[in-house]
Symmetry: C2
Subunit: 326 residues, 2 copies
């Protein structure tokens, strides 16, 4: 006998009263590819909207091995010890097949998992980064409506997913390691430019000296970049996720950021700009997928590519022709 599905209204009232089971079920609807589920998910999201927009959203990135899970566990536990409610989500488009390669193994955060003021959810799967990002954005709304005042979004150190996460958070934190050739990644200018903070993890034991040197170097590197629209100067700090040291300093930094950017109006205008970005982004992805998924276009596109390759037409003439078939 199948368990009766709760109604949309049940789920909404469950979420807004902080019921984790209702939250999880609603997220499952967001993640579903079943159109009926999507419809239901949209109704729930709309009902949750008036209760959303209330958290600080923090993006955390770093290459594999940098200690993201250990850091997030220490950071999350610090926040719950301050009385906060922490949701940890992930954006990992590579998890399409493996169904949550990051955060999939909750045992990596075994103390945080047991904390009743923490909620951990692995990355949704999806056939595109756009799809994964959309589901995560919608999940943020539900988490906020469920009373989570701090939403952490973890991502892997892959260029595009970092950009997607950057465009859905208020504060973007880059975790780094000292030594081991990791400084060279400093020249990945795009990522450094996005960061509001660089936190050098594993600054413990024998690593401390190298970590301090790295801090000086990153501080110097950050000075090379133009001032940010936020009015915030990115900071470099040291921590040890393992020893749970330097964690409160990271949170104080984020609180300073929130104060600075709330005072100067950036915090709200930034969220508005992010929303507009997602609106346009969604439209453009759908326009493309509608076009390329048309059976007629699939056939004709192949033919036109062959003509272009043979030098019988130009890419521009071929594009005109394909657009005329719509």
């Amino acid at each position: 006998r199948r368990r009766k599905q709760p109604s949309t209204q049940d789920l909404v009232s469950g979420i807004t009263s902080g019921n984790i089971t209702a939250l999880s079920r609603a997220i499952t609807l967001i993640e579903s590819t079943n159109p009926a589920h999507s419809q239901k998910a949209n109704e729930i999201i709309n009902a949750c909207l008036p209760h959303a927009n209330t958290s600080i959203r923090i993006g955390i990135t770093g290459v594999p091995g940098v200690g993201k899970s250990t850091f997030i566990e220490a950071f999350g536990l610090h926040l719950t010890s301050l009385g906060k409610k922490v949701a940890v989500l992930a954006v990992d488009p590579s998890s399409t097949l493996s169904r949550g390669s990051i955060l999939g193994d909750k045992t990596r955060m075994e103390d945080l998992v047991k904390d009743k003021n923490a909620f951990i959810r692995p990355s949704p799967s999806g056939d595109s980064l756009g799809g994964v990002a959309r589901k995560t954005r919608e999940t943020i709304i539900l988490c906020e409506a469920a009373g989570f005042d701090t939403v952490i979004i973890e991502t892997v150190g892959v260029g595009q997913s970092e950009t997607a996460v950057h465009s859905m958070v208020d504060f973007f934190l880059l975790l780094k390691l000292a030594g081991a050739g990791d400084e060279l990644q400093g020249i990945k200018r795009g990522i450094i430019e996005m960061a509001d903070a660089i936190v050098i993890n594993k600054a413990d034991g024998e690593n401390i000296k190298a970590a301090k040197t790295a801090k000086v170097e990153f501080n110097r590197a950050l000075h090379l970049y133009p001032a940010k629209a936020s009015g915030w100067s990115p900071k470099v700090s040291l921590c040890s996720g393992l020893k749970r040291e330097g964690i409160s300093e990271v949170w104080e930094m984020i609180e300073n950021y929130t104060t600075t950017t709330s005072d100067n109006g950036f915090f709200d205008s930034h969220r508005n700009n992010q929303n507009k970005f997602w609106l346009l982004q969604t439209i453009e992805e759908r326009l493309k997928s509608n076009f390329y998924n048309s059976e007629n276009i699939k056939v004709e596109l192949k033919a036109q590519i062959m003509l272009v390759e043979a030098g019988k037409t130009t890419p521009f003439a071929a594009a005109e022709y394909l657009l005329s078939l719509q």
Copy 2:
């Protein structure tokens, strides 16, 4: 009494016999916003296609002040002295109003302008980088049909136009200066990664020592990047556009590149990939402009953005609604 307009056929036979007046007139048709001219331009391009694809296409970029014009003049004169025919085009989307802010002042290349085996054309104007790039791509075809075996495309040191030029050339050359803080631009990783060669200009007089140091530094930096699909290892060389020194070495390097990439098949496969890129790029730009330029969408988009800003709908629901209006 207005001069009679030459027929499409006249222009094509003029171009293919190397007539510069015919070439210039046909490029003017490509650049025109008049639909009748575009139609005529398309016919000319199609007729020229069998005669195109015959040149080496070289992109040259560098920040203002790096000496691009002086370098291109010295380089172009060296090529014509070897019996080559050189076309110099430009991609500068900022020239929309100023009508050719780079290369507009032909007096900057006064010796090359007088050379009957050189053809210099300022950047087309356009309301988007995509439009400017398309016109330049089409102009390349006409120049090749007119017998130019070397096509140089100059661009300003602006991220997006460099990407556009990179996607239409066989060889991408980055001009740099030694000293003056210019090394710091080395961390603009995107540009460095695109370069097949870094040529340090103004390596003359008192600059020589700094230029040699910069060469060592860039060589070291280039080693940090993964190997290129072309099988070519980017090179660093020194030159002085003003003293016309180190110029033949640049050309020898490009000849080596052509040999290497022709032998391993990259040269042709790269051009094919570029064509496919432009085909898809053109389609996607047109899909977007068709959507956003619809009067109905313009009105409704504004309304939906207001609802999103007021937290009454999500960016995703707003996008769905707008797409449903198509």
